[in-house]
């Protein structure tokens, strides 16, 4: 039993933090919004260079063969920077899925390429137009297509950095990836997406709090910084408490995601719900603490509100995830000795 991160994991996260701090700063956001851009090619190249897109790919596919705990730390940093590019969707979810279903797919050979995934739970796909390949699902069967073989209809959304598309497609235009064994791979993809959305939620939440803290130290009213007033303090303290009790759930979900049983699924769902609630609460608290400034486009808090909204409702709504927790709670033994419970079956194979 060890709940700590190792030095390597912390270093990788630190590298991502520095990279995003340098390349995805408020200045970058503002310039992109002025140009109506949702993609920065130089930043993406730096992300690829750093190896962040290769983390979850198996070494056989030229990847680093790292695990979800490692990538969750990166996803958190992406959330902290409100990263526009689909690092998490592509490198955290779609690419490992494609690598599992079609290891020789050419899109995996191009390091700069992104891969999109049109999951039945989500009505739209961010950045689908730029993807080298789009993963699709129909009646439990997996397909892959290039964007030119499907119909992409822009679906404008409120987050300036999520360029969204509806995807319509015909099985005749896509390549089937076989239906036999891939159900498990799709289930894992959904769990990864929910987990990494949760990890991004942690980052979104912390940034929203940090922005408010900075502002509350500077802004003066009644002759004092507003951060010295308790009503302001308590808003932010409450937001921080939610973050503190979402983080260990996210990390535990990441550590056990590979089990793919009713327990690991419930934990991922728990993480998804609470981390995005933390993000939503923090974003709203942050807007309130900023006053009218927080309500203005030029102050960046709205980015965190909007991303939290998107991630809360995509990759399974709170109700979807609550149902998965209910399945665990009402069909399995509960209680203090069940915190790290696993499926009986798996335990038996381990003992054998």
């Amino acid at each position: 039993m060890d709940f700590t991160l190792n030095d390597e994991q912390m270093m990788f996260a630190e590298t991502a933090r520095t990279l995003f701090a340098d390349s995805c700063s408020p200045d970058h956001w503002h310039r992109m919004m002025e140009a109506d851009a949702a993609w920065d090619e130089a930043r993406w190249a730096a992300i690829v260079d750093t190896g962040l897109t290769a983390m979850l790919l198996p070494e056989s596919a030229g990847g680093l063969g790292l695990c979800e705990v490692d990538f969750a730390l990166i996803a958190r940093e992406a959330g902290y920077a409100a990263l526009p590019e689909p690092l998490v969707e592509s490198a955290g979810v779609a690419a490992p899925l494609l690598a599992a279903l079609a290891p020789d797919h050419p899109a995996l050979g191009d390091p700069m390429a992104t891969i999109a995934i049109a999951h039945p739970l989500n009505p739209v796909v961010p950045h689908a137009d730029r993807a080298a390949a789009i993963l699709l699902e129909k009646d439990g069967e997996a397909f892959v297509a290039t964007p030119d073989r499907v119909t992409l209809t822009p679906a404008p959304g409120i987050d300036p950095f999520r360029r969204l598309f509806r995807v319509d497609w015909d099985a005749a235009d896509a390549t089937a990836l076989g239906s036999k064994s891939n159900g498990a791979d799709w289930a894992l993809a959904l769990d990864r997406a929910a987990l990494f959305s949760a990890a991004m939620g942690l980052g979104l939440a912390q940034r929203a709090v940090d922005l408010a803290v900075d502002y509350a130290k500077e802004r003066q009213q009644f002759g004092k910084p507003i951060g010295s007033y308790q009503a302001v303090k308590h808003h932010l303290a409450t937001a921080q408490v939610a973050i503190e009790f979402a983080r260990p759930v996210v990390m535990a979900a990441a550590a056990d995601i590979g089990r793919q049983d009713v327990h690991s699924r419930a934990r991922v769902s728990h993480a998804k719900i609470v981390a995005l609630e933390a993000a939503d609460n923090a974003a709203r608290a942050s807007i309130q603490v900023h006053g009218a400034m927080g309500y203005s486009w030029e102050v960046d808090v709205h980015l965190f509100l909007k991303r939290a909204l998107a991630l809360s409702q995509n990759w399974g709504t709170p109700a979807f995830h609550r149902a998965r927790i209910a399945e665990r709670l009402f069909t399995q033994a509960a209680g203090p000795d069940q915190l790290f419970a696993r499926d009986q079956k798996e335990r038996e194979t381990e003992n054998a």
Binding site: A237, F245, L329, D337
Partner: protein, 381 residues
């Protein structure tokens, strides 16, 4: 990161489970705050625990413990609550003063006070609060006047849990003439010493769960002072760290309650508001989140970290989840919620009343939010 128990940890769990199965009283004991008999029955239970060396498993062996680590402590607590074992009547001693003594006490003090604490022979009360010093604990006025090798204690303490029946108290006193955080000392006194008067105070459930204590020229040896003279505030804050952070409220307590709540829901959902299912699930999530957070903290502490201001987030989280959980249970019981004795085996109502105190004691949740804002987030005072 590896979230599985080692074979040694699993064997330890089995050992605890087995011992408890053979020793936990079949019938629940009368509440320790209700009557002297209930209190003494709990003292007897502490003694039974000690006979199996389970008094306080994390303490060094030479002081009556087993020298186990924090993960083993969590496993012990999980099994303890799972077995429905009696509440720890000496919790202020073993969970608060004990760790503080281990950190700040001399060898002689540890030898004198820890073993009888672990066995329940001496049951402790905390005597910090005063009528004029609640949240603002630095406003304590009770004095300790040095007289040769002794101190003479005077003052008025209040809200001291279990002081009605307990044997000893650890109190916060100041040198005459000193102000605020300076000049304070943490000093132990027997509750039956000449000059000590203990008046019971009834709680909202009717039990005499706490007391006020008057001290009039109470003479105790200087040996009873923990740490240096004037170091009292610093030591109290360390105790408060144990209280808020790790020891006082085991996650297992809430995990057991959440599991019982899920069972209550299954049993009664046909007659209950369907909206409550989401709250039942939420209670389970909260209990697990708290447990995971404590496992994470335990891991960090074992790797050499120290408890910091984040202990304040724990205190807010467990106290709020406790109330939410029990309110949900009462909502499921509906119009039967108010009945005494309560319907069913579980006393949801009394546990709810107990939970309501959580945001008040151990530093109110408003104070904890101030601490988080100022010391974690760096907002100005």
């Amino acid at each position: 990161m590896d979230l599985s128990y080692t074979p040694e940890q699993q064997a330890f769990r089995a050992e605890v489970r087995d011992w408890l199965a053979r020793h936990v009283p079949a019938e629940p004991l009368e509440h320790f705050d209700a009557t002297r008999a209930g209190f003494e029955a709990h003292r007897q239970w502490e003694n039974t625990l000690k006979s199996g060396d389970w008094g306080m498993v994390t303490w060094p062996v030479e002081y009556g413990g087993r020298g186990l680590d924090l993960i083993q402590w969590l496993i012990f607590e999980e099994e303890y609550y799972r077995a429905g074992a009696p509440g720890r009547v000496n919790q202020n001693g073993i969970f608060l003063l004990g760790p503080t003594l281990i950190e700040f006490g001399t060898h002689e003090q540890k030898q004198r006070f820890l073993p009888p604490m672990a066995s329940g022979e001496e049951i402790w009360a905390q005597a910090w609060s005063e009528p004029q010093a609640g949240s603002d604990l630095a406003g304590v006025r009770a004095t300790a006047t040095r007289d040769g090798d002794d101190y003479i204690l005077n003052g008025h303490k209040i809200w001291s849990s279990r002081a009605v029946f307990a044997d000893w108290a650890f109190g916060l006193f100041r040198a005459p003439g000193s102000e605020r955080h300076k000049g304070m000392s943490l000093i132990f006194f027997p509750l039956d010493a000449p000059g000590v008067t203990v008046n019971p105070i009834r709680k909202i459930n009717g039990h005499v769960g706490f007391a006020e204590i008057f001290l009039e020229n109470v003479r105790v040896p200087a040996f009873n002072r923990l740490g240096d003279e004037g170091q009292g505030w610093h030591i109290c804050m360390a105790t408060a760290g144990f209280e808020r952070g790790l020891m006082l409220r085991s996650p297992a307590r809430y995990q057991v309650a959440a599991a019982k709540l899920a069972a209550l829901w299954q049993e009664r959902k046909a007659d209950a508001d369907p909206m409550l299912e989401a709250e039942v699930i939420r209670a389970h999530m909260n209990a697990e989140a708290y447990a995971l957070s404590i496992y994470q903290t335990a891991s960090r502490l074992m790797a050499g970290a120290k408890i910091g201001p984040e202990a304040s987030t724990n205190k807010i989280f467990w106290s709020e989840l406790d109330i939410h959980l029990h309110r949900t249970a009462l909502s499921i019981l509906g119009p039967e919620a108010e009945l005494l004795p309560p319907p069913g085996a579980q006393d949801w109502l009394d546990d709810y009343i107990f939970a309501l105190a959580g945001p008040i004691y151990a530093g109110s949740n408003e104070i904890q939010r101030n601490i988080i804002a100022e010391r974690m987030l760096g907002l100005p005072r």
